[in-house]
């Protein structure tokens, strides 16, 4: 299994066979552009530049996301944002360039991490219960609102949790360093067993 799974998480073209038990399902998400944007959130110039370059309002409230149809800006820390862009025609390098141009002269850093992370989707009415098998996060509180996100742990893995389609409902996107993706997938797949029919 491992060789197969490995290729799933490092190659954009192949996807793991999704698991669907009705009450909960697990699948991989297509590769997307991911960029870390560093800069102090209390620096107005930084915020303005980010908004200009992304067309999104910068989420300066801790653990929140602002998004539109194709992209998300995610709060990771008081000087750190993650920009995720679901646009298969764009290149990561160009996106980095665009951001760097906008941030010219502002204390900042822009780093392409598109290949650093893999994203999985856990969905269905029992998704929360499955999540709770691995994370100490109070999911209901931390993700009460559709625009909430949270970084936490799942088993040994550090994950970023956002909500599919910005809905505080039944779908979660789990972003993880891809070298932990096989671990995360295996853990979740086992945790979902209970819901097999």
């Amino acid at each position: 299994m491992s060789a197969q799974i490995y290729s799933v998480f490092t190659t954009e073209a192949i996807h793991a066979e999704p698991l669907d038990y009705g009450a909960v399902s697990l699948s991989t998400m297509p590769h997307c552009i991911k960029v870390i944007i560093r800069g102090e959130h209390d620096n107005a110039a930084f915020i303005a530049a980010v908004q200009e370059a992304t067309g999104l309002s910068a989420p300066t409230r801790a653990n929140s996301v602002s998004s539109n149809d194709t992209s998300e800006l995610i709060w990771l820390g008081p000087s750190e944002l993650l920009y995720r862009l679901h646009n298969e025609t764009l290149l990561a390098g160009d996106t980095v360039q665009r951001l760097q141009n906008a941030l010219q002269g502002v204390h900042s850093a822009v780093v392409d991490v598109s290949d650093y992370y893999t994203t999985l989707k856990l969905a269905g009415p029992d998704a929360r219960r499955v999540l709770r098998k691995g994370t100490p996060l109070n999911v209901d509180v931390a993700l009460a609102d559709g625009s909430d996100c949270a970084q936490t742990r799942f088993g040994h893995a550090a994950i970023l949790l956002t909500q599919a389609d910005g809905q505080a409902e039944d779908g979660f996107i789990l972003q993880v360093r891809w070298t932990y993706a096989e671990y995360l997938w295996t853990f979740l797949a086992e945790a979902m067993q209970e819901y097999r029919t």
Partner: protein
């Protein structure tokens, strides 16, 4: 199992954090002028307080920020957490706060 208030992310489980010992130990700037003992003091010697302890934590599995906390090392109760760079909260006041909450076992040393 502690419940720790990250100054940014709010209350999170202890397993998201790690502890890093005493806070507010400034690194000496003119290191060349220090004798062995002064330098040794900075590197190794610690208050190790029984009572209020000013200490450092990081939110490893969250925002990855360092921050400071004051905790009573007897009851393990956190009195306050605060961002780096913010001044150390007053020990007297905290002791009062602690004795209000418990029966006043805390003792202050080595801020």
């Amino acid at each position: 199992m502690l419940l720790i208030e990250c100054p940014w992310c709010g209350q999170r489980d202890q397993t998201e954090f790690s502890a890093h010992g005493e806070a507010h130990i400034a690194r000496p700037t003119e290191t060349a002028t220090l004798n062995d003992e002064q330098w040794g003091n900075y590197v190794f010697f610690r208050s190790n307080s029984k009572g209020l302890h000013y200490e450092r934590w990081t939110h490893d599995f969250g925002c990855r920020r360092w921050f400071n906390a004051v905790r009573d090392t007897v009851s393990d109760q956190f009195l306050v957490t605060y961002k780096p760079g913010e001044p150390a909260p007053d020990a007297k006041q905290l002791t009062q706060q602690l004795s209000d909450a418990t029966s006043g076992t805390a003792k202050v040393s080595g801020v």
